[in-house]
């Protein structure tokens, strides 16, 4: 399953809060469609970005098409890292927001039917 990619890796999943990363900001970006793949790869390569995805916009409510998760010790640091992403994206990005988490409502492993 590792060779086929069904299992991505074997290892530990830390509780970010327990190891000191208490601020969790989901940064979301409205990036020019013609440049998103080029820019997404660069954002995903930043060492502090833990997940980076392209997702569909939901206009008019949701103009953002790039999601980059940033974990840090506090919101000030998250904001500083998000500012780095903003600099990297430059004029390819029209708008962005940071959605901070304030509670874990549920966290369990996957459950698929056997």
């Amino acid at each position: 399953m590792l060779d086929s990619g069904v299992i991505r890796r074997i290892g530990a999943v830390p509780n970010h809060y327990a190891i000191g990363y208490t601020a969790n900001g989901m940064s979301v970006w409205d990036v020019d469609d013609s440049r998103i793949d080029e820019m997404g790869k660069q954002v995903g390569a930043l060492e502090f970005v833990t997940h980076c995805y392209r997702r569909p916009r939901r206009l008019p409510d949701w103009p953002y098409n790039l999601f980059a998760m940033v974990h840090s010790q506090n919101r000030r640091e998250v904001a500083a890292r998000v500012a780095e992403i903003a600099t990297l994206l430059g004029d390819a990005c029209r708008a962005h927001e940071i959605l901070y988490s304030t509670a874990i409502l549920k966290k369990s492993g996957l459950r698929i039917a056997a």
């Binding site: 074997i10 304030t102 369990s108």
Partner: protein, 184 residues
């Protein structure tokens, strides 16, 4: 599969199973007491676990630890929920399943009721409260892509609120990075 079963047998084969920390409390607990060895262990275990006959022994040796000491510490980290799990990370799409991020705009007065209703779905793997008009963000994991649409329809029916699904169009995936390093 229970963690205790996994960890009580030293030198077990790598592919035999995985562990899940129990519970999923709503706390943002932090500040677990970690010594320097715990930190090195957590960092080492985020890389690729070796697929060899005695993987725990190999990891222990690389860290300069006794195998039984490594197992004891791993058990303790899971027990204290410093690690939420230890085992294989599945790429669920490659197994025919589906994974979708979804969000809802939940009126504050109804937040607890809706959280309980959403969390009751086994298809909801994670759920976070976030500061935004879209204030509830959860991940749906199902055995088939069709299962996602069914789960969304069921959640909308139970809660009476629309669900925004944000399907992954592309992942800008990077191999293990230093970000995984925990604070020194």
């Amino acid at each position: 599969m229970r963690r205790a079963i996994l960890l009580k047998a030293p030198s077990r084969p790598a592919a035999a199973g995985f562990a899940n920390a129990r519970g999923s409390g709503p706390d943002l607990a932090s500040g677990a007491a970690l010594d320097e060895v715990d930190r090195r262990l957590i960092n080492a275990l985020q890389g690729d676990f070796p697929l060899v006959a005695e993987p725990y022994r190999q990891v222990a040796e690389a860290l300069g630890l006794d195998e039984s000491e490594l197992l004891r510490r791993l058990d303790s980290l899971l027990e204290r929920r410093v690690l939420t799990r230890f085992g294989p990370m599945f790429q669920i799409e490659r197994a025919g399943g589906a994974f979708v991020l979804a969000a809802m705009r939940v009126p504050e007065a109804e937040f607890e009721r809706v959280a309980a209703q959403v969390n009751a779905f086994s298809e909801v793997a994670h759920n976070y409260r976030r500061e935004h008009a879209l204030n509830m963000w959860f991940v749906l994991a199902t055995a088939t892509p069709q299962g996602i649409s069914e789960a969304i329809a069921a959640i909308e029916a139970v809660t009476g609120l629309p669900v925004f699904a944000f399907r992954k169009e592309r992942e800008y995936f990077v191999e293990m990075k230093p970000h995984a390093r925990i604070l020194a």
